[in-house]
Structures are given as C-alpha cells and as structure tokens.
C-alpha cells in the first residue's frame, strides 16, 4: 500500500513538475525579486525590508497560483481526461490514489517553493553581500507559507472531487481569501453584538482553514521570528486540517462514479 502511494506520488510530481505554466510562474516570481533589488536601490534605507517583503510575498502569491493550478488538476482533470480509468483498473484502492496524488502535488509545490526561495536568497545575498543570522528567519516564513499552501491543495482536492476544474479553482481561491480574513470576520461578529451573527461567524471561524496565524511576512521583514510555540501549533494545525480534507475527499471519492 505504502509503495503504491509513493509510486503515485512520484509520478504525479514528475508529471506536474514538467508543466510549462509552472516555469512561467516561477520565472515571474524570480523576475519580481530581481526588480525588488533594483527598486530597493533607488529607495533609502529600507531596501532589504522591501526585498524581504516583496520576495516572500511573491513566494506566497505564486505558490498560491501554483497550488491552485496543480491542485484542481488533481482529480477533476484526471476524470475529465479519463486518465483515472487506467489507474483505477490496476490493483489500486481509491484512498491510495487520493493520498498518493496529494503527496505528489505537495512534493511538486515544495520543489517550486525551494526554487523560488533559492532565488530569494540569491537576491538577498546580492543586496547585502552577505547573509547573517536574522536572514534565515525567512526560512521559517517559507515553512509557514508551505503549510498554508499544503492546506490550499487539500481544499482544491476536496473541491475537485465534487466539481469542475474552473469552479474548484474559483472556490479554492475564495476559501483562501476568506481564510485570510477569518479573524476579521470573527472580530466583526464580536463587535456587532448580535448573538446569532456571532454564532455564525464563530462557526465559520472554526470550520474554515484559518490562515491568519500563518502570515509572518511583515514580521520577518523586521527580523522578528515567530515564537516557537507558533511553529508547533501551526504545524499541528496544518496536519490536522490536511487530515480532515484528505479524509473528506476520500469519503466523496469512494462513492464517486466515473460516467
């Protein structure tokens, strides 16, 4: 079982890493970082803050695009193009397929993020002529971004089990946006003083993935690391949420008919 999951994961990764769109996205992200170096040189005193802000934001934004792009292809594209028939007619259980696919895409995402992160550090090195201790806080930030995007892929996975690629991309994006505003939404519920609204916003708050604790870019730019408990808590949070998403997807996928 494990070996089949690994096989599916590796081949999913191999397939999606060769997608040309990804090269374009990564290229664009790297270009943005290069631009940040130039931009920083005409501004005063804040050049590496700008570079860190812009570079990490680029990793986050383009990572999101990549996550959604490959995430929606996860199941619905396989169904649409009927590639899934070939796999499921082999001795492969459906949960193995879902888990394998998911792992493969997270692997793809990690590779892409690694390339962008490397680009980011090259730019930072070019700017400062050295890399000092606080610069490596960026890695923690990238780790949080990756956790966040792993959840996004899980969301895309769940949606692509039930609807078309375009719709699942849209829905996934919406969940991402809402996930970033969740604390605002709950704050709004608390401020309104309306009990039913507060209940509704609280339900949304605990039900949807909450990304607000994963946003550490601006802190990172000022050289402030997230406290150790947050690293543990976020890791745990992401693992739990991914488990939920995968199990729910398997639940839907097990009952799915491929007409």
């Amino acid at each position: 079982m494990i070996s089949r999951i690994i096989t599916i994961a590796l081949h999913t990764c191999k397939e999606s890493v060769r997608e040309k769109v990804l090269y374009n996205l990564i290229g664009f992200a790297l270009l943005l970082m290069a631009a940040a170096v130039l931009f920083g040189s005409i501004s005063l005193g804040v050049d590496q803050i700008i570079l860190i802000n812009l570079g990490l934001s680029a990793i986050s934004v383009f990572g999101l695009l990549i996550a959604i792009f490959i995430g929606i292809g996860l199941v619905s594209k396989e169904i649409e193009r009927r590639t899934i028939y070939n796999i499921l007619s082999k001795p492969v259980a459906r949960p193995e397929f879902i888990i394998g696919k998911y792992c493969g895409l997270v692997l793809t995402l990690t590779i892409n993020a690694a390339v962008m992160t490397a680009g980011f550090y090259v730019a930072l090195f070019y700017l400062q002529r050295r890399l000092v201790g606080p610069d490596w806080i960026g890695l923690q930030c990238v780790y949080f971004i990756l956790l966040q995007l792993a959840i996004v892929i899980g969301v895309a996975l769940l949606f692509s089990c039930v609807t078309t690629p375009i719709l699942s991309a849209t829905f996934t994006f919406c969940v991402y946006v809402i996930g970033n505003f969740l604390s605002d939404i709950r704050w709004f519920g608390q401020e309104s003083g309306n009990t039913s609204l507060l209940k509704l916003t609280s339900v949304i708050y605990y039900l949807l993935p909450n990304f607000s604790d994963f946003q550490t870019i601006s802190q990172t730019a000022h050289g402030v690391a997230a406290p150790p408990y947050l690293v543990t808590a976020n890791t745990l949070y992401a693992l739990l949420y991914i488990t939920i998403l995968i199990c729910a997807s398997v639940l839907i996928f097990e009952a799915k008919e491929f007409r």
């Binding site: 934001s57 401020e191 604790d213 802190q219 408990y229 808590a233 745990l236 739990l240 199990c247 097990e254």
Partner: protein
C-alpha cells in the same frame, strides 16, 4: 465510516488548538499590519478601475484598524493616517473619511493618533476636492481650535466656512466666539455638541459624548473648588470631606459627575473625580 470519524475527530482536536493559538496570540504585542501600497495613486492604478470598491475596503480597514487598536489600548496608530490618505485618494468624495480623520488623527493618544498636522493636510485636501461642503471648514476650524489651540486660525476657518452655500448661521457665531473668547468652556461645549449631532459614525459620536462629559465634569469641579474655598474662608478650616459641605448647607447633596459617580475631596483639599468615575479628564487640553 472510518474516514468520516477521522474527519470528526480531527475537527474536535482542531477546535481547542485554535483556541490555544488565539489565547497565545492575544497575549503578544500586536505587530503592525503591512500596508502593501503606501500611495493611493499607485493603488488606484493597480485597482483596475474598481477604485470605489477599493476605497470602501480601505475605509473599512481604517475603521477596523482604529477600533482594534483602541480596544487594545494602543498608544500609537502609525498606519491610521496612511489608511485614510489612501481611502480618500481612491475616493476623494468619501466625506465621512475626512471627518473621521479630523477627529481621530488629531486627537492626542490614547484617544487618537496625535497627528494634528496630518489631520489638517487631510482636511485641506478634502476641501480642495469638495469645495462646496462647508462642514469640512468646520472640521478644519475645530482642529485649530481644539488640538492646536490656534484661535485666530480657527476663527478664520469658521469664517470662511460660514460663507459657503448652505452653511448654518451658527458658523458665523462660532467664528466670532472663537475669536473673542478662545479656550472658553462654552465655546468648546458648543463645538462638541455640533460634532455629536452631525457625527456619521459610532466612534465619533462616542468620542463627542466623552469630551462633553469631561467638559461638564471640569466645570463642575471648578464650581466645587470655589465652594470648598468659600467653606475654608468662612469656617476658618478646610472641609474634611464633601459631606462637610452638605452638613453645613453649602450643598444639598454630594454632586455626581456625568458618569454617575460622586465627586470626592482629595487629601490636598482639591475636588477630584470619584474612584469609580468613567469620565476621562485627560481628553481636555
């Protein structure tokens, strides 16, 4: 079945985890949010024509930013000016943003950002964009009067505003009052009453109420101080407490401040707010 119960179990575990994170996060000093765009013009270009909507979003952000900061008893509001500047650059006719800014940008901490100059700039830009709206002159005069205590400038602002079409008559009276008796408590009360009556947001109204309460309390305290002084002169010794004034017939009862708490006599013989009072005298200049 198994998968379903795993989903349930994971949600059950997620809930306390999120609560624990929230608790921890609250105890930390809040890091400043990030303004991706410093200039409203740039954002307008990036906004792909949705400036109206973007302005509304930024206006909401500004109000929320202010509300959240105040809830946390912040002493600095470093992003408030920028948020309002961006909002009004995106939609120069969003009058409420200027009026909100004139109060809270100028107000000294912790009630506001303590940036009266930024507030003046904001209002002046608002006047350029909305020349026929006379209330912005009122706000301008108000900042000069209350925050900067520049009474001649305040009088000029009220004067100019009173000449705008539709301006209320009292703007003229205000110009005269400010010029003649700058710093008088009655002028201040009149101004804050105006603010209260035309306040567009809950925050502004609450602020006006607090200021009016502080003004009243200050006036009452100075009256009581006079009574205490009279008591000392007539009896030859200072009263031990405000009750002494009641016993000797100077007062019918111990007076209460606008928040309903009784005044007390401090050891140094001066009248002060009671320990449970909600009135904030530090709002006054």
């Amino acid at each position: 079945m198994i998968w379903g119960s795993v989903v349930m179990a994971a949600f059950a575990a997620l809930w306390p985890l999120q609560r624990a994170i929230d608790r921890q996060q609250r105890s930390l000093p809040q890091a400043e949010g990030l303004l991706y765009f410093r200039s409203g013009r740039a954002l307008r270009r990036w906004g792909l024509g949705y400036d109206g909507l973007l302005a509304d979003i930024y206006w909401t952000r500004a109000v929320q930013y202010f509300g959240r900061k105040r809830l946390a008893h912040a002493r600095r509001y470093p992003l408030l000016g920028a948020l309002l500047r961006i909002t009004t650059a995106l939609d120069p006719h969003l009058l409420i943003a200027y009026r909100f800014g004139s109060i809270f940008l100028a107000e000294k901490p912790p009630g506001g950002a303590g940036e009266p100059q930024a507030a003046l700039q904001l209002i002046r830009r608002g006047i350029v964009a909305n020349p026929s709206y006379w209330r912005l002159w009122e706000d301008l005069g108000f900042i000069y009067y209350w925050d900067l205590k520049d009474y001649p400038m305040a009088a000029r602002a009220f004067q100019t505003g009173s000449r705008q079409p539709g301006a209320y008559v009292w703007m003229k009276a205000m110009a005269a009052a400010v010029a003649a008796q700058g710093g008088e408590i009655n002028t201040s009360r009149l101004l804050w009453t105006q603010i209260y009556q035309t306040a567009g947001t809950q925050d502004v109204r609450a602020s006006a109420v607090a200021h009016l309460a502080a003004l009243d309390a200050e006036q009452q305290i100075s009256e009581l101080d006079k009574l205490v002084e009279r008591y000392r002169r007539e009896k030859g010794r200072p009263p031990a407490s405000l009750e002494d004034l009641v016993f000797s017939g100077y007062l019918r009862a111990i007076p209460k401040d606008p928040s309903g708490a009784a005044y007390t006599l401090a050891r140094d013989g001066r009248v002060t707010l009671g320990p449970s009072s909600k009135v904030d005298l530090s709002l006054l200049p």
